[in-house]
Symmetry: D2
Subunit: 357 residues, 4 copies
């Protein structure tokens, strides 16, 4: 039993914990019959044949360690199929590595882009089992991805901290939370931290509506407001644009990120200085929270069992708080976004928060 493991895409909390979960269960199941290989820097290592044998002790003491001991890289899916004339495609190179290394199975940890390539490999006959990794929680087929809950903890802590400054200076603050297409992280951290306005990509915002929410608070004696804004926030005007128009509009935008534009719009509407805080990559680093350690352990066990049972071509997923396999073909290329009428969005509104619309 020769198994190759790789972590791909942006790193997040829990990658090592998940690797440990898979490895401990496999060693427990197969003992000496098992050899694990670490593939370096995600698909890059698979393309370039950069892998190495691992020992059981490599998986000790990594439960709480942030990042990934295997390294990772981002690989655009499209480039996997293209090649210069007389050159192998990256897909062909990967298949060659797998053949040469005699991998019986690949264990792949990643998010959306990663799963497209994993599905491609599966379609080409490679035995693949995957685990859902992303702080964005936007992977189709699973209620929860690992990394998400750790990122919620960090984003919430940052907004908590901004509270004291916002209160003391009677100011409006924007905290920009990670999430380009999906607002899960902003929504969860926004409610958990008691933010006053939450802006997510799924609900295009109106600067006037936000300004009104701020002014309503002022009238009730609350001299500060905190906005949790997803980095992928879009305005109601932008929501009506064609893809091309939108791209042009954003390229012309004279701000390093959307929060600065919203700050400017609000300044004009309210006359107040708006401060912006962007915790950025801080949200994906460091030790996984206990909930992510439990989740990755459970996912790791389930992935190992799929290998034992020969059920390849699946991602291990959370559904109704249980771990179940989901075919890669159902996961690849799809995005799980926040339904604008979901009960959590509705709960935020019921609590008196503004969704900026």
């Amino acid at each position: 039993m020769r198994i190759g493991m790789l972590t791909s895409g942006g790193d997040c909390q829990g990658l090592n914990a998940a690797l440990r979960g898979v490895a401990k269960t496999l060693y427990n199941e197969f003992g000496d019959k098992l050899t694990l290989y670490g593939i370096r820097d995600g698909y890059r290592g698979l393309i370039e044949g950069d892998y190495h044998e691992m020992k059981e002790s490599d998986f000790s003491d990594i439960l709480t360690v942030g990042g990934t001991i295997l390294g990772t890289s981002r690989q655009p899916f499209k480039s996997m199929l293209k090649a210069e004339e007389n050159e192998e495609t990256k897909l062909e190179k990967m298949l060659k590595t797998i053949k040469e290394a005699k991998f019986d199975c690949l264990v792949i940890l990643g998010g959306n882009g990663t799963h497209k390539t994993a599905n491609l490999l599966s379609e080409h006959g490679v035995h693949v089992v995957t685990l859902p990794k992303t702080i964005d929680n936007d992977l189709w087929g699973t209620e929860m991805t690992f990394g998400f809950q750790s990122a919620v903890d960090i984003a919430t802590t940052v907004i908590d901290s901004i509270h004291s400054t916002a209160f003391s200076h009677s100011r409006v603050f924007i905290v920009e939370v990670m999430g380009h297409k999906a607002g899960w992280l902003t929504l969860y951290a926004g409610i958990a931290s008691g933010a006053d306005v939450i802006i997510i990509p799924e609900i295009p915002y109106s600067a006037k509506a936000i300004a009104k929410a701020i002014q309503k608070r002022e009238k009730s004696g609350k001299r500060f407001s905190i906005l949790a804004v997803a980095e992928g926030a879009i305005s109601q005007e932008e929501a009506k644009m064609s893809k091309k128009e939108f791209k042009a509009a954003r390229e012309a935008m004279p701000y390093p990120s959307i929060s600065y534009r919203i700050a400017e719009e609000l300044k004009e509407l309210t006359g107040q200085e708006i401060r912006v805080t962007i915790p950025g990559h801080y949200q994906r680093g460091g030790a996984p929270c206990p909930a992510d350690r439990l989740l990755t352990s459970r996912l790791g066990v389930a992935a190992a069992q799929l290998i034992r049972d020969g059920k390849f071509g699946n991602m291990v997923a959370v559904q109704d708080d249980k771990i179940v396999p989901v075919p890669l073909s159902e996961v690849a290329g799809k995005l799980k976004t926040v339904p604008p009428d979901s009960d959590i969005v509705q709960a935020a509104r019921d609590l008196g928060l503004s969704m900026g619309d």
Copy 2:
């Protein structure tokens, strides 16, 4: 609309966040028509007529505050129905207070004992809506209680910390985790912290089995072991005793808690000194974790909606990650314990952990 609120039983993280969730939603829904009353120290305040009008601002800035602004107390359920001759029972006194205060509804936050009394009030015609509070997660009818995830975070952090000492001194450590009847907290924190042995009340332990697990680790070169032990742990011998025999056995036990006995048993079997750490009430104090703040917010909204819709006699519960009402009559008097064959226990075993049996 006159609503009385009380928190009862052992305090835990998220009580204030839950009160805030209910209050914000009610104020948002009913505005000036609403008057909220805080009942002091749980059922004691209801019995003695100790309550006071609250203002909307009382619920500001309490999202992250530990404990309960209303105070709490433990009240044995049985005493509610008994009274001296010519005296009113406590139940009668509570009903009198409710009538005098003209409460249209009571919002009650508590665990198992609390829900028995809440159901009793409901059976006597009082409009009651409850929220499931306990770090033990042992309340029937809900997958999750608030406080639990915060306690998991703390217990996990303590075991994390003990790791470095256990490793450095090559020692065996017991960390005693809260939980008299249910092992959820120990099980979750044990897996999340990478403990080597997990002992829960639902799976009676054998000291020999634990000693074997420790010795197996030693043989594989691991010079330390960490045991997560629920305070309600029982041995396989004790599991066979009658209730009376068990009580007598425990009263004769010359240790302040079960962990010291297990330490002694293991010392005899392994020849090693075993250290015990008991974080105790530390596990139920302080700010709620983000997950508990989100949960309490959602539960608070749901409780307020039940009041709005006149659906009394229910607890708001989590089922399949949704918030649903569950009749008090179904909740009262039942305990949700860890099924010994649950998938999480099985995951622990698959990872190579010992459950001490």
Copy 3:
């Protein structure tokens, strides 16, 4: 005994703890003879006569609360002395408020700007005692200001977290740490977090020297580097400029902050993408760390004793780990920066870190 208290300048951790320290000691000393007044939003409240009587219970439960219960504001020192024709200066308005309110003494918490105005008031006969507040630790006359150690904790935690991402992606990261004129925060957090390069305003940087440090690490097999950069970092070229030239150069700089420019410079020199994280105001919010709570308690006690002993016109300061009074005239207008040859800078160099020069 009528005492007015105000907090001025940027907020930071420990302001409430310090107010509590002063108040508890004064109540303990003077009992009923004491009346404390809270002046709202720093000098603004003193100028506009916006103050209110406080109760002993106002100082309960604020030891761990971030921000300031009194509010704060920034007031440019120069504007204190200027006024429209026929108008009172702000200084005159403050003196009038003090007279009308019959304050026997002012307790002022603040940083550099705040102390200039405090000294001005003292020179005009007002009884003043001050406490040294700033996350920058750049106040003359004291080895330590409160807020600093809490900010070190946060900045260190952020850099810790970035480590896992930098390692996993084999990338160079810049974390921009607060500090316009003084590099204490960057220096302490940089060493404490194991950063590889530390850039502080006191030691102008050379992009080439930084690039060299990164490449030296690469050669030794370390595929990532972390730079802790003070927001007030300046290049060696800029250090040679006149004040006017420098101002012009910075206004022409097409980046929201210096870190982006350094990232661009390094990209050109090393060919690598450099990521930037800016935790911003997150560094000054939230609960004070235990060290700051102890420090503010000790400073508060000392300030109260100066009032009791009638020793006005002083700031309470830390010298040789003792709390001593320092005349305001010695503090006002001076800045404590990092001596480039200080033993802590030398320690960083001895550990193999680059100071970017």
Copy 4:
């Protein structure tokens, strides 16, 4: 240059950070001429010749890791000099190992017991440099030991958390803090967490005085009290006993630790149930706090410099916030306890806290 390193005594936060500081500075200074050896489990490894060559990469990524990568053990000083007839003493065995291994110098990290043996080795001609490690901060000759500030952070966090339970249940709580002979940890954590009563070994307590402090709080409307009690607390009666009487009294004490006795005494005097929480070893585990990481880095640099300069027989110490060498002969066998009239004790009293006397 062959240097052996060992860590001895109870583990604490910062041991690895200190080893890293010494190693990085030595590698930076001596490069290829240096070989470092890790001696396993403190003096045990030196006695038994259990040591191994280390690589520069062994010191990477250990800055934040709790415990000690070298292992540690407790060794009673007296046994170093005693031996069976015809047997070598442990001292002789250690000298033999040092000779055989050709160590040019030993770097020893430890607390009081460790320093006695280190001094003994030094007196026998061994080149020794030591670093002051202990969460108790009770080492003579230095204002600060590493581990102490991390332990203060943890003990403070525990007491913080207990606050919410104490408040919610209107109860009196005892938190037992580590420290057998010295009360530094209890004193610092007690003030930092806002405890109401602080009991340290240096100030024998009177149960009546404590009860009075609790009752005074009750009278002022505060329904709860928190006592920070050092594990080495002694009563005023015990303070008058001879050593022998004291030992007998303690052996007859029917409680696992002093806090339970104080709880019992207070229960009798106040009629209230008193709860006890004992965080135990949790206080010495886990990652060092940023302040300890900075301190260990500075101490490590200084130790390396003493080696470079041939200044053996010294401990690196903190005096007036500077790192200085102190002769081992001055350190060994002496204890630094809290002066009962120190300014920090006085500050606690001025804040209205009871010292239990």
